[in-house]
């Protein structure tokens, strides 16, 4: 049993892969709590797909340097998330329609760019589905730095983000800087998506954002503990998923996401059949 756990750790790529999966899981889970509570899963998925042209241009410009790719992707994600809001206001269409237009258009542009060079096909697969075992030491440091920054921002703006998520009208009534807070939250979402590129890739990011947070929302009625449980589920799924990937020889991104899904299902079943519903409040 101990060997079973320790054997994979003999490989440096597994050590780095496990560490980055844990960090990425925590970042995605924290940001994902806001995404789940505000019903923005579609926006998250769209943002993830919309960064593909940024990755493509970054790849062409920097000749495959991972660090440069990170900033290209982040820039594209931030511009896209702000752009979606601006388009839905300017054209006066519903936000989900604006998201659909931008999402598909940008994704197609990304594929078009990448398809111009044939041997980019391997890299396209990495962008789409992640390549957690190809993480370098500098990737790890960058991800750690970004992760800590996200944690600090969520801690500092906790009460403002809480108001923004629960009652956006109160943000205006209290004369808080509503657009600035919205943009900051969009940037956090963009950051979470970009750091998870390496573990699960563009196509599966939304699962890492939404599934742990949704599972946590089933077991607690408090935002702080929802964030704690979501982080725990995401980090745990990252580790379990990588072990599954190692021993069962399945793609690592898919293994991590499937583990999250499985945890969600188990919690849901436990809630449905085992645990009694909580007693109703008495009226005063």
């Amino acid at each position: 049993m101990v060997n079973w756990l320790l054997d994979p750790l003999a490989f440096e790529f597994m050590q780095r892969g496990l560490l980055i999966s844990v960090i990425v899981g925590i970042v995605c889970a924290l940001v994902g709590c806001y995404i789940v509570l505000r019903g923005m899963a579609f926006l998250g998925d769209a943002l993830a797909h919309a960064i593909l042209p940024g990755l493509a241009v970054g790849y062409l410009a920097s000749e495959g340097d991972r660090g440069a790719l990170f900033w290209w992707a982040l820039g594209t994600a931030v511009v896209t998330s702000i752009g979606i809001g601006a388009i839905s206001r300017a054209v006066r269409i519903k936000q989900d329609t604006a998201i659909g237009i931008v999402f598909a258009g940008m994704f197609a542009l990304g594929i078009a760019l990448i398809s111009t060079v044939r041997n980019y096909a391997v890299d396209l697969t990495h962008f789409l589905f992640g390549n957690v075992l190809g993480v370098s030491q500098s990737d790890l440091w960058l991800t750690l730095g970004v992760g800590v920054s996200v944690l600090v921002i969520i801690f500092v703006f906790y009460k403002e983000f809480l108001v923004l998520s629960f009652d956006p009208t109160l943000v205006t009534v209290l004369r808080l800087p509503a657009p600035a807070l919205e943009i900051l939250l969009s940037i956090l979402m963009a950051v979470a998506i970009v750091v998870s590129l390496q573990t699960v890739g563009v196509a599966l990011v939304v699962a890492l954002l939404v599934t742990p947070a949704a599972a946590a929302s089933l077991i607690t009625k408090n935002l702080r503990s929802m964030m704690f449980f979501a982080s725990l589920i995401a980090a745990g799924s990252g580790v379990l998923g990588l072990y599954a990937s190692f021993y069962l020889n399945i793609a690592s991104g898919a293994a991590i996401v499937l583990t999250c899904t499985l945890v969600f299902l188990l919690i849901w079943i436990w809630k449905q059949f085992v645990r009694k519903p909580p007693a109703r409040a008495e009226t005063s």
């Binding site: 009460k159 403002e160 009652d167 109160l170 009534v173 209290l174 004369r175 408090n222 935002l223």
Partner: protein, 274 residues
């Protein structure tokens, strides 16, 4: 306590002043040329048929909608500088499954006062506790919000307005869907607000209830009448506000208004205070 941005409230300026306020949506006039003044400490019932613009008016006052034309002054200043206005939303607009407790929602009212980069201090939580006490919800402080009854939910939002230290409170249909005891509890809290000199605008369908307020504002896209009940609740004004949907019938018991398409009706027996 008050943040720097909050301008001084001069004692002689009214709580609320509207000058020629109009709002147009897609070429339709939602509100037209509203001019009125609410003196500090008054409780005003805002009445009118469905679609009269009651919620729209509140949204403009709260800063959620920008008027096409005209001005709003709160204590003599434009609304953008104020945090002294609180807005109690309609219950249906809230996500009750949201993972927050009652006291956390009430604390949200203080987020502007606490300021950026700061956590709520001990005295903020004590203040929130006091606000919950004033609406008889102290025992429910740690409950998740979906565990509250309809009346308790409304009281929680009134406590949030208190926590905000607001002196102008907008209540949008706060009694909708509540049973009689819950309605009375909320009306008692209004008496408490009155004693503390807090100005209240209270949107309602109920003409009977409106008659107990200091002033009535009768609205149907434009201002039909504003003043005390005897000046406002006249046959002429009511038929202007409710148009063909409202029948004003003279009976031996007084004057009866048979109400609009929503099935609401109010009656005001004239003999009672004629």
């Amino acid at each position: 306590m008050k943040p720097k941005m909050e301008p001084e409230h001069s004692k002689d300026s009214p709580a609320l002043e509207l000058h020629n306020l109009s709002l147009r949506f897609d070429g339709h006039s939602a509100l037209q040329d509203l001019t009125f003044t609410v003196d500090s400490g008054l409780h005003v019932a805002v009445v009118g048929p469905n679609g009269a613009g009651k919620s729209t008016l509140f949204n403009i006052l709260a800063g959620l909608l920008v008027p096409t034309k005209g001005n709003v002054f709160i204590h003599g200043h434009p609304p953008a500088q104020h945090m002294c206005l609180a807005y109690v939303p309609q219950s249906s607009q809230v996500d009750w499954t949201f993972p927050v407790s009652v006291e956390e929602v009430v604390m949200m009212g203080r987020v502007g006062l606490i300021g950026l980069f700061r956590l709520p201090a001990r005295k903020d939580w004590e203040f929130v506790g006091k606000c919950l006490g004033r609406v008889q919800l102290k025992a429910f402080a740690h409950r998740q919000i979906s565990e509250l009854s309809g009346g308790q939910k409304q009281r929680m939002f009134i406590a949030r307005a208190l926590a905000q230290e607001a002196d102008l409170v907008l209540l949008d249909e706060p009694l909708a869907g509540l049973d009689i005891p819950s309605q009375e509890q909320i009306l008692n809290i209004l008496d408490d607000l009155k004693q503390h000199g807090i100005t209240v605008l209270f949107a309602t369908h109920d003409l009977d209830l409106a008659a107990v307020f200091d002033r009535i504002l009768l609205l149907n896209r434009r201002l039909i009448a504003y003043g005390k009940k005897d000046e406002v609740l006249t046959a002429n004004n009511l038929s202007q506000a409710y148009g063909g949907t409202m029948q004003v019938v003279e009976t031996t018991d007084g004057r009866i208004m048979l109400g609009d398409s929503g099935g609401h009706h109010g009656h005001e027996p004239e003999g009672r205070h004629g």
